[in-house]
């Protein structure tokens, strides 16, 4: 990092695009140029952009699977514990461990735990809710939830250099390149 203590801290350099094509090709270019600490912003899901900046896999499916397994186990074991250990009721001599009758609630709790894990896990991995983020300092960033695409190369990147990175982003299809304060 080249900035001195007197200059305001910089979060990164942001390039604005009007098309998803522009964003994805710029992402690929930046990744090829060796940048790693960057993020792209889009008004709709754009998987190609995430892959282009090196974000290939998410842990959400694994978490959901674990949540589902936990839900299924707790559902079944709860019923087993209640009807066999804690509160056995003899109804017409039927077995206490009457597993077929336990399946429905086991299934429902599997879905419940997996679903909650999927949503909470997605939010937690993304660090949401997050009341403040430096990218919102960009004056035109409100268009990111509307019709514009942004690529931000962050100052935390080892290759980051305010001038060089700005020049590099100007070689893409960006309509505007600007630095954004931290």
């Amino acid at each position: 990092m080249t900035e001195s203590a007197l200059q305001p801290a910089v979060h990164g350099v942001v390039a604005e695009f009007t098309t998803p094509d522009g964003l994805v090709s710029a992402c690929k270019k930046a990744y090829a140029a060796g940048y790693r600490r960057m993020d792209a912003y889009s008004p709709f899901p754009l998987e190609e952009a995430a892959e282009a900046i090196g974000f290939e896999k998410t842990a959400v499916p694994l978490l959901t699977l674990l949540g589902g397994i936990l839900g299924g186990l707790s559902g079944y074991l709860l019923q087993y514990w209640v009807h066999v250990r804690a509160f056995p009721l003899n109804v017409g001599g039927r077995p206490y461990h009457s597993w077929p009758a336990f399946i429905v609630i086991t299934f429902e709790l599997t879905i419940l735990f997996a679903g909650i894990t999927a949503v909470v896990g997605m939010l937690a991995l993304s660090g949401l809710p997050q009341p403040y983020h430096s990218i919102f300092n960009h004056p035109r960033f409100s268009a990111a939830t509307r019709d514009r695409f942004f690529l931000c190369i962050e100052a935390a990147d080892p290759k980051f250099d305010l001038e060089q990175t700005t020049l590099f982003l100007q070689t893409t299809d960006a309509v505007e390149v600007a630095e954004v304060a931290d």
Binding site: T19, P20, D21, V24, S25, K28, D39, A40, Y41, S42, P43, F44, P45, L46, E47, E48, A49, A50, I53, F55, T58, V60, P61, T64, G68, L78, V82, H83, A86, F87, V91, S98, A101, V104, I105, F107, E108, L109, I111, L112, A114, G115, I116, A118, V119, M122, S126, L128, P129, Q130, P131, Y132, H133, I135, F136, S142, A144, T145, R146, D147
Partner: protein, 470 residues
Amino acid sequence: MDQTPETKNSATLERLLPGQQPVLMPGHTMETITDKIVSLVLRRPVTLGWLGGFAFFFGVLNVLMFAAAYLFYRGVGIWGINIPVGWGFAIVNFVWWIGIGHAGTLISAILLLLKQGWRNSINRFAEAMTLFAVACAGLFPVFHTGRPWLAYWLFPYPNTMGVWPQFRSPLLWDVFAVSTYGTISALFWFMGLIPDLATFRDTAKNRVAKIIYGLLAMGWRGSVRHWKRYESAYLLLAGLATPLVLSVHTVVSFDFAISILPGWHTTIFPPYFVAGAIYSGFAMVLVLAIPIRRFYGVEDMMTLRHLDNAAKLMLSTGLIVVYGYTTDAFYAYYSGSFYEMFMFKNRVLGPMGWAYWVLIIFNVITPQVLWFRRVRLNPGLLFLTSVIVLFGMWMERFVIVVVSLHRDFLPSSWGTYVATRWDYAIFAGTIGLFFSAMFLFVRLMPMITIFEMRTLLPEAKLSEEVAAND
């Protein structure tokens, strides 16, 4: 989705057959879609029509408040229920409302997995419909317990009495199925709202609105990493909601099918209940979509194609329901059981036989008009058909619950059933609750999923060289 040549102007498009009409009329860009949906909430003034409609349904909702207060004071004796008809309106309404919710989940989850792009403009309000319908449904078993302040006894929790719920009972399965369904529907709905709430936050001019939508959007900034996790979670949730929605009405049907009462004890119940649920649900989707698209001018986003598709789904699930009725009759005959055969004869020709024939006219004969394209393309007729189907599905549950119960094995224990004004008041009241909530929803939230509509645009597609160049 089909691609209509862009050269055709919209006047020509209006005349196209529904199968050829696009799901989104041409001429839209990301900006116009965003502006249009956002302005319905943030720019549009409160109109007299909205105010009048809301005031009316809020008034009806207050009927529910009074009736419920009196019910809590006097107990379920103010209803028409008796022995042998112990279930009455409460369970009829419960099954009816929960069934209506099913179409919302079908649209948001099953059609998403089947990559049906046309669902994108109707899934949001259909999910809201699910949520409010489940809320209405959930009230009835709680009211029906007679001591609603003890309703938490339905859930397993360690207590000083040392007792636990009976997990082998279908009624308890129902508690778990419905509460899981309500929770997952709310999660699905809220998760879908997050990116759109961020759009609202960034577009709102009013400071209070900005803060409220901002809090709800939780700092969503559209990062592609977040989008990737979001898409993954959304797809997983759809995958989980699909078996869930099929299981919910299956479990509801177990409340009946697991018992030994003639008319309830048949294996056709689970599939036939699920089909009936989706049938009535699509009828409610149409009852909501037709006025919404007209009064909010979103006919370019909810096109005749949507109405046509929903009507076709209604027709096909309706035919499954007809199959269910036929099988019901066949079971009675083929069982060789005297009681089963008597049950069917009594259902068709007994003292409450009129209910069966109303059901057949409303639910079997009327919807056959949907075979005609002209009807499916006429919003007015479609609206009327949907209202009739909704009423028919209510009659179906009445026939199943009340008519089966009133005459079982022993003639000495036969009885009859007459609903009281409190039964009607509470049922009407939940309709007030449902529509009041819908009125508030279309005023306060994006009723069409903005970000999913953006993905329908040609400009949102990556060009082939960019997508392929690795």
